[in-house]
Symmetry: C2
Subunit: 224 residues, 2 copies
DNA sequence: CCAAAAGTGTTTGATTTACACCCATGA
DNA sequence: TCATGGGTGTAAATCAAACACTTTTGG
């Protein structure tokens, strides 16, 4: 059955299926996590997968990915970038392409959709189950890209609130790199690149010196 | 009119069109050039455009791009990488996506197809005409990517023959960066990264000291 | 006064840049 | 012997990494 469909789909005038999928990242409890939905129907029933859906041409691919992101998390205006496109995700459907995106969202602004059928949930990227449609590979590439871009862009703005302490920023970087950073060097680097600046405000909490608050100098994607 | 078409195409079960396009680079006469074909029919008749074609699902996207490249240049086994995918190239066809690739080929191994209808030809990237389907933007991004990757990968292997002199390698780098490099520092850098090694052979030509020949230590894509 | 996190500088080594002279060859 | 391009080294500047003590606050 699947194979009959597959063969006919491979014929040259089968209409290809185009889908967008989104790797949505957030840092929660010091861990880099990714939003997955549970597949309640075939194919790959019972596995976790990246959120996504069919593209119908009524909007651009970027808009489609942004809408998907909004539907899943309520987030808008956050960092969203195209990753790559593949035709190999679903062997039962060779005439299909998936355009993958990744997004960085601020964990505590997110309201997950409460759908019984999908059960969206955050999963730690360091410890993922076997996912549907080779989504493990998609996520790996997304993580690699975020890591690389963290070094020469301001993309971390997507993960943090308007104002934040240097410690919070550093914990975000550490969560993504999965290794500790030197506090002094980190501060120097961040301030010298000019991607952040002090707001002048301080946050008092607990029995210790208050922390200065910073903001990103730009909340648009910027290269260094 | 355009809007009527756009509206109907925007309906959810219009079959999307998927195409692959390829930015094929070569360095010829010290200039970075790109292969373009002449559009002999609508839309965008009379303009130059990137080679490409409809994808039918009978092969993967990568294979489709590789085949396109082979058809245009005869080149195989060369460097080929996906760039990005866009749905905005042809306003008259909103339900279409183009998956763009770029390739690096060795100029003097290429045999261009001699087709009257298409007239494939090399164009200097520093001086392009106004192209069909926003292809200027696609090429800009491809150039940016090649420049960046030149610094931390061995992709230049795609542009050079098996054996080459350091001067030839440097001229390739200079063509892509469009600025001169210091000979001594260039040599040091290339050898210290280990992406090239001397073959032991020399090339005698003209009234001067013979140049040592080098090869890439790997002709597979390698990151540094 | 104690615990907890914030804030701050200096030294070392590595990397990058700038720069000028000798070498091998063919004519 | 001369013209041509091939080959080489060093000094200065910049950048990255390692590292420890003082400050401010609340309890």
């Amino acid at each position: 059955m699947a194979s009959a469909r597959s063969n006919s789909a491979a014929r040259s005038n089968a209409a290809p299926l185009v889908a967008t999928i989104v790797v949505i990242f957030a840092v929660i409890e010091g861990k880099l996590r990714v939003l997955l939905v549970h597949r309640s129907s075939e194919p790959e029933q019972g596995k976790w997968a990246l959120p996504g859906g069919r593209w119908d041409g009524s909007e651009s691919l970027d808009e489609s990915a942004a809408r998907k992101l909004r539907e899943e998390t309520g987030a808008k205006g956050v960092y969203l970038e195209q990753l790559f496109t593949t035709s190999n995700l679903d062997p039962s459907r060779p005439a299909a392409v998936a355009v993958a995106y990744f997004a960085l969202v601020e964990a505590n602004r997110v309201r997950l959709r409460q759908e019984e059928a999908w059960r969206p949930a955050w999963h730690c990227v360091a410890d993922l189950p076997d996912l549907a449609f080779h989504n493990n590979r998609v996520i790996e590439q997304a993580v690699a890209r975020v890591r690389a871009k963290l070094e020469y862009t301001n993309i971390a703005y997507g993960l943090l609130p308007e104002q934040f302490t240097l410690r919070e920023l550093q914990e975000t970087y550490e969560a993504i790199h999965q290794r500790p950073l030197d506090r002094r060097n980190f501060r120097k680097r961040m301030l010298s690149t000019g991607i952040i600046e002090p707001t002048g405000a301080y946050r008092r909490e607990g029995a210790h010196r208050p922390a200065a608050l910073y903001r990103f100098t730009s909340r648009e994607p910027v290269f260094l």
